[in-house]
């Protein structure tokens, strides 16, 4: 007689009086495939853990964002936020779609140039630009977004000796009714510092003031904050036109749009609370169109959206190493991808799902990474089915920041593959090995 299919024995306590906030337990939906390719096959071929990026999702997301703005405003230009994901292949996809580059360091600036972005389509942001950085940016006709007065005076000094008039914008920080307020970057709007900086630029005659820039924060769930910010930048543009008859060419609203990941401590999941591109676009473009900026001088709207454009396109695949029972009875599952690869797990409750499941029975589980460190926790508590060692897990929505902020700690960083729009797989960053580190280390003679 054939034997019955086995499922491990499970007992769960029934807790009356603590209702689930949604009234019912959600089913675990495994992710067996990405863009039609088997997760298991991808990992067999490219190893575990493994980052996977979907080119189709990148392009689709970009196009939907562009459409949301272009259908509401006459002139829109996206600039790809390099720090969000500066893998060359990813940047080139955005550049192919028409994005300029937004960089915040010399490293990123050089990356943008090597990706074929013309100098005059690179926005150079950030608080740290050396004199040399500024000189190179001026030479290449890049757009320099000034962060502080020291930078402004350095630029004035360079401009005094240079044949080229530097193209500049100022970054403005402001109260948009949200918390936290990002006050450390740029010049303040409310206390008049921003207007003061603009006056100094205009009166110097040495700089070409081409734009106004703000970046109000990150993971902003309130589109209305962008409306308020756009309104304040528009007011500065109007004041410039009135006082100097000078019309800025663009208003740069920065980034900070939320993605569908769920922030730790959030009551509702990110999939329910994340505003759409249309909602952000509506708030920003309405504020600009309804402002007193003359119709003939409407500035181009620049956007430096990063997270919202790339998060959904990235997946981290991993393998179960072991299961344990903690002293308080909770189950713990150890996987081979930890906070070293998933930096964003410090602020998101990432969705972690099995590639395949044999049972819908779940248990409250803590998911640990592989590091020999107490902080290496991917999820503190998640209803998760029991997976056996060797079985695969998938963490979706990891495209933003993880491939730039990941840590080389204890282990080698893994392969990153891109699935192109014809389902071909390309390794776009190779797994590290001993050589990766030996090439940059030097051993003094006496230790050899």
């Amino acid at each position: 007689m054939a034997k019955l299919a086995y499922e491990r024995p499970i007992i769960n306590r029934i807790s009356a009086g603590i209702p689930d906030k949604f009234g019912m337990q959600s089913r675990i939906r495994p992710i067996p495939q990405i863009e039609g390719l088997s997760v298991e096959e991808l990992m067999k071929k490219y190893g575990s853990p493994l980052f996977v990026l979907s080119e189709k999702t990148i392009r689709d997301t970009y196009r939907s964002a562009l459409k949301a703005f272009e259908t509401r405003y006459p002139s829109v230009q996206f600039a790809w936020s390099y720090k969000t994901n500066y893998l060359d292949s990813v940047c080139r996809i955005f550049h192919q779609e028409g994005s300029w580059a937004e960089v915040v360091s010399r490293f990123e600036y050089e990356k943008a140039l090597s990706n074929g972005v013309p100098g005059n389509q690179i926005i150079f942001n950030g608080p740290h630009k050396t004199r040399d950085d500024l000189e190179v940016a001026i030479e290449n006709d890049s757009l320099i977004h000034i962060d502080h007065f020291d930078e402004l005076y350095t630029l004035l000094e360079i401009a005094g000796k240079s044949a080229t008039k530097p193209k500049v914008a100022i970054r403005v920080n402001m109260d948009t009714g949200i918390y936290p307020r990002w006050e450390r970057f740029g010049f303040n709007y409310e206390n008049g510092e921003a207007w003061d900086a603009l006056n100094r630029i205009m009166l110097s005659g040495k700089l070409d003031l081409v734009g106004l820039h703000t970046h109000i924060g990150t993971y902003i769930l309130a589109p209305s904050a962008y409306g308020m910010a756009a309104n304040k930048l528009a007011q500065l543009a109007i004041n410039l036109a009135r006082k100097y008859n000078h019309h800025v060419q663009y208003i740069d609203m920065g980034g900070g749009f939320a993605s569908k990941n769920t922030l730790k401590g959030a009551y509702l999941p990110g999939t329910d609370t994340c505003p759409t591109f249309d909602e952000y676009a509506d708030a920003i473009t309405s504020a600009l169109i309804n402002s007193e900026i003359e119709p003939d001088h409407m500035p181009t709207l620049f956007l430096e959206t990063g997270r919202a454009l790339i998060d959904d396109a990235g997946y981290l695949l991993g393998t179960v190493i072991a299961n344990k029972r903690l002293p308080d009875g909770r189950r713990a599952t150890v996987v081979d991808a930890g906070v070293n690869l998933l930096f964003t797990s410090f602020w998101y409750d990432h969705q972690v799902v099995p590639a395949v499941i044999s049972s819908q029975h779940t248990e409250n589980t803590t998911i640990y990474g592989p590091l020999c460190m107490n902080i290496d926790i991917l999820r503190d508590a998640v209803m998760f089915p029991l997976l056996r060692p060797g079985e695969r897990i998938v963490i979706p929505r990891v495209g933003a920041y993880n491939m730039t902020q990941w840590l080389q700690f204890i282990t080698y960083r893994p392969n990153i593959v891109l699935i192109d729009t014809e389902q071909r797989v390309h390794v776009i960053r190779e797994q590290e090995n001993q050589n990766t580190f030996q090439t940059s280390e030097r051993i003094p003679q006496y230790l050899k």
């Binding site: 034997k3 499922e7 769960n12």
Partner: protein
């Protein structure tokens, strides 16, 4: 290792401990094991019965049984 006398198990795996008022649910195989334990079977007999009926390696079942019984202890369902 015996299940407390105060623990009742229904046919569909609902468990009620009248000494504490706690209730639990079991999956099918969990219910079978609890029944075998209530009938006084030892570990080796339980293992034998389960691997005869189900498609499972003895070593894997042994590991799962130990984990399951640790949960029974955690939930205070075993005789001291």
């Amino acid at each position: 290792m015996r299940i407390k006398r105060s623990v009742a198990v229904s046919e569909n795996g609902f468990v009620f401990d009248s000494s504490t008022g706690d209730s639990f649910n079991l999956n099918g195989i969990g219910r079978e094991i609890v029944e075998l334990m209530k009938n006084g079977l030892e570990q080796s007999d339980i293992t034998q019965k389960i691997i005869e009926r189900y498609e499972v390696e003895p070593a894997i079942f042994e590991q799962n049984l130990m984990d399951f019984q640790s949960m029974l202890r955690q939930f205070n369902l075993l005789e001291e």
